[in-house]
């Protein structure tokens, strides 16, 4: 077979955080915090 299936990966336990769900939450929470900061900046210093 041309494409051997990759060996069992350690993707069930990612480094740094307890689960992938935690990583995804971190990325989305960072986005939410950035948007919140931008809204504050637009309103506090905007025209």
């Amino acid at each position: 077979m041309l494409h051997p299936v990759s060996p069992a990966d350690s993707d069930h336990s990612p480094p740094g955080l307890p689960s992938w769900r935690a990583w995804y939450t971190l990325v989305l929470a960072a986005l939410a915090a950035e948007i919140g900061f931008f809204v504050w900046l637009s309103r506090a210093l905007g025209a």
């Binding site: 990759s6 350690s10 992938w20 989305l28 986005l31 950035e34 900046l41």
Partner: protein, 589 residues
């Protein structure tokens, strides 16, 4: 540029390319090594490579200029990107990594059939093959205007350098050079931003500058009102921006190849998530430089236009006398603008709302007068070019691509000018190299290898073919950039054409991932019908191109579903789920 700047520029580029080529001098024995860097890249290498491939020279030339003219609302365009990174990490990465594919389109053969794979790969090659050369042409044009370099020589030199290291070291060389190119880009932009704040008048601090920019509407970061015609609001960012990011990062081989080179699902995912964390702050930083430039030029004399060749053209033409008069008005206005800005900053610091409102009013009046001068300038360009149409006049009047690089050349110290020009060229090279690398891979893996129809070729022969195809695509890109230089409309057509394919390709992949009961015949038919409908809609309606990603994707999914339910049975259905089984090269252990 001074001799020292030339030394910094040449030294930076030669060191990066030389190091990348030397580190990968033994690459290329196998397809895995040559096309995917031995599938050995760590997460930070994957992440930096993804960032470098997306960030073209225009990112660093145009984006500050866009903020200078239009404020920071462009940031909203990137709001969908982190969401796309999460979705691709969940859905696409495990499938691509499990099947050990070389390209995203290879998966389509496993899931559907050969013709669907060829269709998607063909659309990618057509779009990327034409547009890759243009990513070198755009910065060459700007640098020719401000530095007097020949665009043709710049394109040929950069193109040859990129072909040399991409062909020699394959994906690993591209990844290693991209890591250093990103380091140069970040340090150059950070230095430029720091000095920009330092160069503001002593009485204007960083927060004063932000206050002034905010009062003049430049801190328009988030807009929750919706409009079909407005590209930059929260809703278009979260929908159109999301689908664009899904198409680009999930199905465009120039990006998929970056994370396929990851050591494992974990490393690929972390690389994508790193991009999701870094991209919005990075764009914010670049746009902030543009806003600071705007405040800087409220105090410093800005030219009537930053586009020097157009300025000289008007000054040599029949409208030269009026242009000189207009320039005088512009200078007088700048003095009034400087006085009003100083008063506004002082009133803000003193927390005197009455004085603040009065100063803001004066500043807004000068801004309105400035807009009037811009309109008169356009009229003078039209008088100088009486046969040009409105679009051409508008393009000549637009100088946002030149704002940042003009500041760099005029105000930054020796050495740093060379570094910032290296930033622009590094960005051009990193994105073009990523594109070229993916063109070579897709042509050999998805077009050449299946065309062999079972005639076995060794991996060494396939790598050799991939190298020659990469050279071919590189030469084609250079040739197309030189040819397109004479046809502005052609450049626009290529950019638009590419954006019209993304929706269809994303739709094919969405069916593959989420509609497990739909087979090859239905999705192929749906993709062809959708592509024809997309081209017709583009021709007959005014729908903004961003929406074609969403409409195209849902059209393929919907038509494929109906086709599957109502069409004749598909012989391929019996073989669904089989791994790629065509005899291509000798089996690898």
């Amino acid at each position: 540029m001074s001799n020292f700047d030339w030394l910094v520029l040449a030294g930076t580029l030669i060191l990066i390319v030389g190091y990348g080529t030397w580190r990968t001098r033994k690459a290329g024995a196998s397809l895995d090594n040559y096309l995917l860097g031995g599938r050995n890249t760590r997460w930070w290498g994957v992440g930096l490579s993804i960032i470098a491939t997306q960030a073209s020279a225009i990112t660093f030339l145009s984006t500050p200029g866009q903020a200078y003219a239009d404020g920071m609302r462009f940031i909203q365009f990137y709001f969908g990107l982190p969401v796309a990174m999460v979705l691709i990490s969940i859905v696409a990465v495990p499938i691509y990594q499990r099947l050990r594919v070389y390209t995203a389109y290879e998966y389509l053969q496993t899931r559907f059939d050969g013709r669907t794979r060829t269709l998607a790969a063909g659309l990618f090659l057509l779009q990327r093959g034409l547009s890759n050369g243009l990513s070198l042409y755009a910065p060459a044009l700007v640098l020719s205007a401000v530095l007097g370099w020949s665009p043709a020589v710049t394109v040929c030199l950069l193109g040859t350098l990129i072909i040399a290291y991409t062909v020699s070291g394959g994906t690993r060389a591209v990844t290693i050079t991209q890591q250093w190119q990103v380091a140069v880009i970040f340090s150059g932009m950070a230095a430029a931003g720091y000095l920009l704040v330092r160069y503001l008048p002593p009485q204007i601090g960083f927060t004063d500058a932000l206050h002034v920019a905010g009062r003049l509407g430049k801190l328009n970061l988030v807009d929750f009102s919706f409009s079909w015609t407005d590209r930059y609001n929260f809703w278009t960012g979260m929908t159109g921006g999301l689908f664009l990011a899904l198409s680009y990062f999930g199905t465009d081989q120039s990006q998929v190849q970056r994370y396929l080179s990851g050591q494992s699902v974990t490393q690929s995912r972390l690389g994508l998530l790193m991009n999701g964390l870094v991209k919005v702050p990075m764009q914010f930083g670049i746009l902030l430089i543009g806003v600071l430039l705007f405040v800087f030029y409220l105090f410093q004399p800005a030219p009537l236009t930053f586009n020097r060749p157009v300025y000289e053209e008007v000054m040599r033409g029949p409208a030269a006398a009026e242009a000189r008069q207009l320039e005088q008005q512009h200078r007088t206005l700048q003095l009034a603008q400087q006085a009003a800005t100083t008063s506004l900053a002082a009133a803000q610091r003193a927390q005197n709302p009455v004085a603040e409102a009065a100063a803001q009013q004066r500043l807004q009046t000068t801004q309105a007068a400035r807009a009037g001068i811009q309109r008169q300038w356009l009229a003078l360009i039209k008088r100088t070019n009486p046969t040009a149409d409105d679009k051409a006049i508008e393009a000549k009047g637009k100088d946002t691509d030149y704002v940042f690089i003009s500041f760099v050349l005029k105000y930054l110290p020796r050495g740093l000018v060379g570094l910032l020009v290296a930033v622009v060229l590094s960005a051009a090279m990193s994105s073009a190299a990523g594109g070229l690398n993916s063109l070579g891979s897709t042509s050999v893996v998805d077009i050449y290898r299946p065309a062999l129809k079972g005639r076995i070729r060794s991996e060494e022969q396939l790598v050799k073919t991939s190298r020659w195809l990469t050279v071919g695509w590189g030469v084609l890109g250079i040739g197309f950039a030189l040819f397109a230089a004479r046809m502005e409309n052609l450049i626009q057509a290529v950019n638009i054409l590419g954006s019209l394919f993304y929706g269809t390709i994303l739709g094919i992949f969405a069916v593959a991932f989420f509609q497990k009961h739909v087979h090859g015949r239905a999705v192929f038919g749906a993709a062809v019908v959708t592509q024809v409908l997309t081209l017709l809609a583009f021709w007959l309606t005014d729908i903004a191109y961003l929406w074609y990603n969403i409409l195209g994707c849902f059209a393929v999914m919907g038509i494929a579903e109906v086709w599957q339910r109502t069409g004749p049975p598909d012989s391929r259905s019996e073989r669904e789920g089989e791994p790629t089984d065509y005899p291509l090269v000798e089996a690898r252990s």
